[in-house]
């Protein structure tokens, strides 16, 4: 991700994400220091007032936006939804294509058990009703990377319906509080991914890569319960965390494992919903928020100026930050849905309906899958709050940053320091340092053990807080920091510590 996620004020200043040391309650009051965006991708939109015209006039009523999402998550599975082909990102083009994937005549789909289990698991985690019987349909359209001329999906009777997703958005004067919100989930359906088209304008030809064709997708359809880009971004981020916790999708947006289409309309509250547009293929959470907010504002402006909203598909130009009509050549598509005749109904069982003596390899037991559900992010957060006395918003940050929770837990395991101190150090000093260096947690030169040792030293008052922070400064590339640190340590130990030993420890810590 290219843009800065968190504000960093000046070199050498402390990162003041949220103050956690001390016992004061931060739920009501604003923390000192700069902004805190728990869901980092939404920083650009969180603070701007939305959905009023540029110059609100007297007596004018406000606009409300209605946003619904369709999210495609690639199922984490060794093989494709209906064929034995391997699933692998960035393999040589057309190297992972079975006869079925290439739609050779006479080939038939064979449903991948793993994909069904992933769908059931995801449905359960999202509080869905799991349909014991679901059906597959063909959705027809001609496109070069859809070799069969149709996609197998679940239009009539999907595998899971009527769920909900609870996510948190930031609120309060300084966006420091997390307000829980819920979006309803209409359905989760299993479907095939398409291949990829690469347009070579120079030679005016299109190259087709079918490696992705037939990969299993979970299409998660959210009800239009969202009202802005920030909410959409937070909901998608939460879904991403859930999928990752379940292991049902790697949900890496940069690799296209999670793709979002947004349906957007605006209306005056109390009046019928407006005409909606669909913004397609949003492939980062930040762009998702930006695109939605841009589109909402565009629709408001259009209507304010006496214009009209067309029911159309739009794409988001992420460099220029606006949406534009995709101008479907064929006009309104009629997908000519039809039952997939080559797949019998997908029947699932639970403990009560499981036929006696059924071969476990031949049946899927919903109850059995429920028992294997891992801890979900909301429960993890609650546990963090309970166990370490941290604020809810801190638990959000710990989960949102990839690898940060694990780092935190490893530090906790190895240090004597108070959990609250660890939280503060991990979220403020350590994370701030990473942000400044534009590093991921996995790229951090500071290991959890090193930080734990540092915190132990701090805890035993062997070094001061200032000295400890100098250790972090050392990482910023200041070679003089080590001498300064040695001085600080000597001072702190009233010159009783051996400078050579101090240096050795410091170097070990900073290596």
């Amino acid at each position: 991700m290219a843009a800065p996620m968190l504000r960093w004020v000046g070199r050498g200043r402390r990162w003041t994400f949220a103050r956690v040391d001390g016992g004061s309650c931060h739920r009501r009051g604003a923390p000192t220091g700069s902004t805190s965006n728990r869901i980092r991708e939404q920083s650009s939109v969180a603070q701007q007032p939305l959905y009023t015209t540029q110059k609100p006039r007297k007596g004018e009523h406000k606009w409300a936006a209605v946003v619904g999402l369709e999210i495609h998550a690639q199922i984490s599975s060794n093989s494709k939804l209906f064929s034995g082909s391997q699933v692998r990102f960035s393999a040589p083009p057309n190297s992972l294509v079975s006869f079925f994937d290439a739609s050779l005549p006479g080939t038939l789909p064979v449903l991948n058990r793993r994909c069904v289990e992933a769908a059931v698991m995801t449905g359960l985690a999202l509080n869905c009703h799991i349909n014991k019987k679901s059906l597959f349909d063909r959705k027809h359209y001609f496109y070069a990377d859809l070799p069969a001329g149709y996609q197998i999906t679940q239009q009539r009777l999907p595998i899971a319906v009527n769920g909900s997703l609870t996510y948190g958005v930031c609120a309060g004067k300084k966006q420091s509080q997390v307000i829980p919100k819920t979006v309803r989930i209409k359905q989760i359906q299993l479907e095939q991914d398409s291949g990829k088209s690469l347009h070579d304008d120079l030679r005016s030809q299109t190259l087709i890569d079918l490696n992705r064709a037939g990969v299993g997708l979970l299409e998660v359809v959210l009800e239009p319960d969202l009202s802005c880009g920030e909410e959409a971004a937070a909901a998608v981020r939460e879904l991403q965390l859930i999928l990752q916790a379940l292991g049902t999708s790697q949900a890496n947006m940069a690799e296209g494992q999670l793709r979002v289409d947004a349906n957007i309309s605006v209306h005056h509250p109390g009046e019928p919903l407006g005409v909606r547009t669909e913004v397609k293929n949003l492939n980062s959470i930040r762009f998702l928020a930006k695109a939605i907010d841009y589109e909402i504002q565009r629709q408001i402006d259009e209507l304010e100026n006496g214009g009209e909203i067309l029911n159309e598909t739009r794409s988001f130009h992420h460099q220029l930050g606006y949406t534009m009509s995709m101008r479907d050549k064929e006009g309104k598509q009629d997908y000519r849905f039809m039952p997939e005749p080559n797949l019998p109904p997908l029947v699932l069982y639970d403990a009560t309906s499981l036929p006696a003596g059924a071969d476990p390899q031949q049946v899927i037991n919903i109850d059995q899958i429920r028992e294997t559900l891992p801890e979900l992010p909301s429960v993890t957060r609650e546990r963090l709050v309970q166990q370490y006395g941290m604020l809810l918003e801190h638990s959000f940050t710990l989960l949102n940053e990839v690898g940060l929770l694990e780092f935190f837990q490893n530090v906790i395991k190895e240090t004597r320091a108070e959990p609250k101190k660890v939280t503060s150090w991990v979220l403020n000093t350590f994370l701030g340092y990473l942000k400044q260096q534009n590093l991921a947690v996995s790229e951090s030169p500071v290991t959890p053990s090193a930080l734990a040792e540092l915190l132990d030293l701090l805890d035993s008052r062997a070094i001061s807080s200032a000295a400890a922070k100098q250790v972090m400064d050392l990482k910023e590339g200041n070679p003089r920091a080590i001498n300064k640190l040695i001085g600080l340590v000597r001072k702190a130990t009233q010159s009783r510590a051996d400078p050579a030993m101090i240096k050795e420890i410091l170097e070990k810590l900073s290596s």
């Binding site: 739609s103 064979v110 000519r336």
Partner: protein
């Protein structure tokens, strides 16, 4: 003794086991006859090299006493809508001319695994859409009975008969090439496909046993689909026992076809010889007595019923009240699936591609216009119309409901105690080509499928058995329909009936004699094969 070529599969299998003939000799005889009967247009591709190589391997197995079973060394033919690895598979369409599949259909693989020799790929109506085997890009198939002694003698007696050469008969279809291939003794069994009667109809016209197994008993993997929910690989043989042998080799679940059933089926399909039929109940569906039915077929049908009754079976009139809706229902369901199944033929990955490259859409359109004939294009157009959002409920969904009613008719009939239904297979015997093409494909298909098509809607097993020759000296078949997955019971009844009627063997003396003469001299035979 009849010549080797005139024998049934079971007989020639015994001859192979006893060493009376080797697989290579048998293969060469068949290849020679294929060449001699080329004018029938039964084969699109003759896989001579493949067959000879398979024969050589079979011969080794026989020498080592490691025969793979009844089908080892037996020449068979396969309709050209089954995928054959390394052998062109065209569906008799420009769209797939030159298409060489990289894999074998499961049924083809099973035949090869049993040691059968693949003689070639047989002609059909384009994408199996038709009932005459007249509408393929390789031209119509001629019925071997056109050249039979039985038919020719009758024609001599008829003062109105015209020029013989232009008066040849159609085989029926769409598996007409397979029927002609077996009927002309070029192989001992052939695979057809059966979506609305495409195996049973040409079997009836060519004096063969044409068997359509229960839907789900035999894998469709590799069969290029017409209507997935009705297609079944069909079997064409000279007698019921032969059909049972082939069924035994083909039946069973296939992990590559999710619609095959896993319940264990009795294998192999050894058919007991029924001593008596007194415990049987034969149903005669009254709705099948239609005005268009020829008096000869009608008379044979009632004679067959009488035969069962005289041998102690119970013969009941039953009602299949929704039969008359079958044709229109089939039209909607068939064309809808066709529209969907044909969507993949876009010229991008395999098959025909036009020269137009101004845009992908233009390329699709021109490719499909050039690749498909009018019949296929017409069905695609109708099917897409029925699947449009605004029409789906009124056509497709209604047709599905009617399909259920038709299937329930059969269930009710069987629940009333009937074991097997007895019906005509076709309205009349085979007609001359020139007469057949007076009507368009759609009209013909609608007429010719009326006794066979409802069975596909219900997924039931059915078999056409040749009964007798008409006044013109042409074969007439009757159809038996069984309960779902009671294929063995159905064939057992059919076998008893076959034994009673003693249908005459086709007399292709001129062809056979010439061929035998050629084959008597081994050197001559090998010379002719190299041509």
């Amino acid at each position: 003794m009849r010549t080797m070529l005139g024998r049934t599969l079971r007989e020639v299998s015994a001859a192979l086991k006893q060493g009376q003939i080797t697989p290579t000799e048998l293969c060469q005889k068949c290849l020679s006859l294929i060449k001699k009967t080329k004018f029938l247009n039964a084969y699109i591709t003759v896989s001579e090299e493949v067959a000879l190589k398979q024969a050589e391997e079979s011969e080794k197995r026989y020498k080592n006493g490691q025969s793979l079973g009844d089908l080892d060394g037996i020449p068979v033919a396969v309709k050209d809508n089954f995928s054959t690895s390394g052998i062109e598979t065209t569906c008799a369409s420009n769209m797939l001319k030159g298409y060489i599949p990289p894999y074998n259909a499961t049924v083809v693989q099973k035949l090869l695994d049993q040691g059968a020799l693949l003689m070639g790929k047989t002609n059909l109506d384009e994408f199996a859409m038709g009932s005459g085997s007249t509408d393929g890009v390789f031209g119509p198939v001629k019925n071997p009975w056109s050249y039979s002694k039985q038919y020719r003698e009758k024609r001599k007696q008829n003062p109105h008969s015209k020029n013989e050469d232009s008066d040849w008969l159609i085989t029926g279809g769409s598996s007409g090439g397979s029927a002609a291939a077996v009927s002309a003794f070029t192989c001992y069994a052939a695979l057809g496909s059966d979506t609305g009667g495409s195996t049973r109809n040409p079997a009836a016209h060519c004096g063969l046993v044409g068997f359509k197994p229960s839907y789900g008993l035999v894998s469709r993997h590799g069969l290029i689909p017409l209507v997935n929910s009705m297609d079944v690989p069909g079997i064409l043989t000279r007698c019921v026992d032969d059909a049972a042998i082939v069924l035994g080799a083909l039946a069973g679940p296939d992990p590559k076809d999710s619609t095959t059933v896993h319940d264990p089926i009795n294998k192999p399909f050894m058919l007991p010889s029924l001593a008596d039929v007194s415990k049987l109940c034969i149903g005669i569906p009254k709705e099948y007595l239609v005005p268009e039915l020829s008096s000869e077929v009608q008379s044979l049908w009632s004679k067959a019923a009488d035969l069962f009754e005289s041998e102690g079976a119970k013969v009941l009139e039953v009602s299949l009240p929704h039969t008359s809706y079958s044709i229109v229902c089939y039209h909607v369901l068939c064309t809808s699936e066709v529209a969907s199944n044909m969507a993949r033929f876009d010229g991008l990955q395999y098959g025909h591609r036009c020269d137009i490259d101004v845009s992908t859409e233009a390329m699709y359109a021109a490719t499909r216009r050039e690749g498909f004939n009018d019949v296929v294009r017409g069905r695609i157009l109708s099917g897409n119309f029925f699947l449009l959002k605004e029409n789906y409920e009124n056509y497709f969904v209604k047709a599905q409901k009617v399909r259920r009613l038709i299937a329930n008719d059969f269930v009710n009939a069987f629940n009333s105690g009937v074991d097997v239904l007895l019906t005509p297979t076709t309205l009349s015997e085979a007609v001359p080509y020139l007469e057949f093409i007076k009507e368009d494909n759609r009209t013909r298909s609608a007429q010719d499928d009326i006794f066979t098509q409802a069975v596909n809607m219900a997924g039931l097993p059915a078999v056409s058995i040749p009964v007798a020759l008409s006044n013109q000296g042409l074969p007439i078949g009757l159809q038996f329909i069984g309960r779902a997955f009671c294929d063995q019971q159905l064939l057992t009844v059919a076998k008893w009936f076959e034994k009673q009627v003693q249908f005459p063997v086709i007399q292709l003396q001129e062809l056979m004699d010439d061929c035998s003469a050629v084959l008597e001299n081994e050197k001559l035979a090998s010379v002719s094969l190299k041509q």
